[in-house]
Amino acid sequence: MKLKKLAAVGLVGVMLAGLTACGGNSEKANAKTADGKERKKLVIWSWGADEEKKSRETMVEAFQKAHPEIEVEHSVIPTADHVWDQKMTAALSAGTGPDVIQMSPDYYGLYTEYYEDLNPYVEKEGVDLKSVITEGMIEPYYRPDGKLEAMPLLENVFVLAYNKDMFDKFGVEYPTNDWTWDDLAENAKKFAGGEGADATYGIVNHWIDAGLSVICKGGSAYSDDLKTCEVNSQEVKDGLNLFGDLVQSKAMPDDTAAKSLPKEQLFVSGHAAMYTLGGFETKLIAEEVGDNFSWDAVSMPKVENGKNNLMYATGYAMLKTSKNKDAAWTFLKEAAYANEDMAKETSKIGLTSCKNIAETYYKDLEYGPIKNSAFLDGLSGAKLNIWGGAFSAAGDVYTQIWQSVTIDGKTAEEAMEEYYPALEKAFNEANGN
């Protein structure tokens, strides 16, 4: 009897020992090639899905081809619903991240502690970044204290796509590059009508709208040094009211909170006349629209004395824990500007930071009626995504203001009065005040 019990305990023990022993992870910084030369290992983490994933993979393949002496280990991790943030938080705070990690300048310093300052590398390289990087694309990566926390890869801005057939059918004149937001609102209302499956709208509700409401009347969320919150202004309230009016008049659907349909579906199915089209999805939308209707795009409506577009940018940072910083820098600089093959792969899904390619190869790409040059033009008026990273707590409060106006039918003044104190508090907290 005793023997069997002992055997049972032993079995459990052996099982455990076996499990733990097999876990040994042979992690070596360097591996040897066949001819005995040391190959430096470089671990890169990117995010992405679908076309984005393919583009990252082919870009890194192009890098590997150019640098056989570096052994690249590239992982693409899905990103929707913040899944990337979970993985990243675990790896970074445990100090076990890769050498190079994708990041976005709109994190506003959230992870900056983990990133190596790149200024010394740029100095050593002796390159004038402004002459090799697409205009306006390096600036967001400098922290207010001067630290260069990453190098750019690409960015995307928006154009206003419209369904010509719907405009003809409703007898509305096509949008022009000179439209203001008031023109847009006025014309969008002409499409409102129908019930259920027959419903038609002037413009699709889009996750970018809350951000646009900040700037569309010339407002701003905070000062350029990121220190002062400026949301509680007449301009922002006017912007909010403009969108509130669009929803109340049924020119825009009122389920702004629901993630029920992929947002572009209303446009490609001919139920909404206009769509804020991002540079990252041109190919996809062009395929989906196909020959169903004729369409075109103009630049985003004008804003007097202010930015009229929002940009989503992403780049790569070097982690302080990296074991191969030279190889990491080689990758960062080539992904940003110094490797045209890589830039061409990136161009498939966005405006590359490599100035040469952006102004030639990228500019000439066309998907359906949309020319990529439109995105290049939109860049100068674009502001970096407002409520990312460190500001996402403040951004979530702004979402409440936004939903109060668009869903609850409150005026911007009422909503601002209710939520602004919380927003300001969250903003100051992000600034460490």
């Binding site: 019990k5 049972a8 305990v9 459990v12 455990l16 619903d81 913040h82 943030d85 979970q86 938080t89 970074l92 705070s93 959230l110 992870y111 502690e113 983990y114 019930e195 259920g196 499956a197 419903a199 659907p253 009122d254 389920d255 702004t256 909170a257 629901a258 993630k259 029920s260 349909l261 139920h271 460190a390 996402s392 707590a393 979530d396 979402t399 409440q400 939903q403 109060s404 869903i407 609850d408 919380a422 508090k425």
Partner: protein
């Protein structure tokens, strides 16, 4: 400490029983001590710090709690929403699971088909099907409202109306209770057939058999389902995240989402730990209430 043994035989038996207890529970004990205990203690400590993402933080005492109960309006909101969800979802899921399992335990034709049908939602529960549900709930073009419109009813804005959104989340969750059904079914099937046979001889109809045999003998299973469903429901996260992201107007913003946002998006790990432990406290409280009432309504064979 130990009192000198008066009945030696009794204590050796006790000793042997204790030894058996540790031998058989060893896998879990080892796992708990090696893999779970330290993270739990660590997060308990974090609760009293203002730790951020970079692992920098200092001891702040009860500041996190103070902030939660005074300045953070979302804290209360998130808990109230979660309670609302729990009180809608748990009773419905228990009753529904028992009812369906009861029907499945009858000798019906196509039993295999029905069992598989009821379990399919549980198997398919993932990102893909949640996206599908988003469309099913869509107010203009969704399938539910389309079917309603065929019979002349204008359906609600399922996910866009702050008064309806939480109900939609509950409906989606109810759809995936295949697990509860399976457990209920196992419980019902564990009831010896002889009980029913003797009841039949006594002339009890099937309704009476349900109430006097199935239901009481199934109470350990119901008890189990109740506890684990409450615990799981309190941590509801994925459905509101994917369908509404907590909106509209925070009407589906749950405690787990608040924990998640603070920890992983705002980088406030200390505050997130406080959030986790306050959830723990509430869940524990409810569980204790359930456990303490169990002796009045749960029947074991021994």
């Amino acid at each position: 400490m130990r009192k000198p043994g008066k009945q030696k035989k009794y204590t050796t038996m006790k000793k042997r029983e204790a030894r058996n207890f540790y031998i058989y529970t060893a896998p879990w004990l080892i796992g708990f001590l090696v893999l779970t205990l330290y993270p739990i203690l660590y997060s308990f400590y974090l609760m009293f710090t203002n730790m951020n993402l970079t692992g920098i933080g200092e001891f702040v005492g009860l500041d996190n709690w103070k902030y939660a109960f005074t300045d953070d309006t979302l804290f209360r909101r998130a808990f109230l929403n979660t309670l609302k969800y729990v009180f809608m979802f748990v009773p419905c899921s228990i009753i529904l699971a028992f009812f369906v399992a009861l029907l499945l335990s009858k000798k019906v034709k196509g039993l295999g088909f029905f069992r598989t049908a009821f379990y399919i939602p549980y198997i398919t529960s993932g990102v893909a099907v949640t996206i599908l549900w988003g469309w099913i709930f869509q107010k203009d073009f969704g399938i539910i409202n389309y079917i309603l419109s065929l019979v002349g009813i204008k359906g609600p804005n399922w996910l866009g109306d702050k008064n309806v959104a939480m109900i939609s989340i509950v409906i989606l969750s109810l759809w995936t209770i295949g697990n509860n059904i399976i457990i209920m079914l196992a419980g019902i099937q564990d009831i010896p057939q002889s009980y029913y046979e003797s009841a039949q001889i006594d002339g009890a109809g099937s309704l009476r058999q349900t109430f006097y045999i199935t239901l009481p003998l199934c109470t350990p299973t119901i008890y189990f389902n109740l506890i684990v469903t409450v615990i799981a429901a309190f941590q509801v996260f994925q459905q509101p995240l994917i369908l509404t992201n907590g909106g509209p107007l925070n009407s589906t913003y749950t405690a787990a989402m608040h924990l998640y946002n603070n920890g992983f998006l705002y980088g406030k790990m200390g505050y997130a730990s406080m959030m986790a432990w306050s959830m723990f406290a509430v869940i524990m409280l409810i569980t204790i209430v359930v456990v303490s009432t169990s002796k009045f309504w749960v029947f074991y064979d021994d």
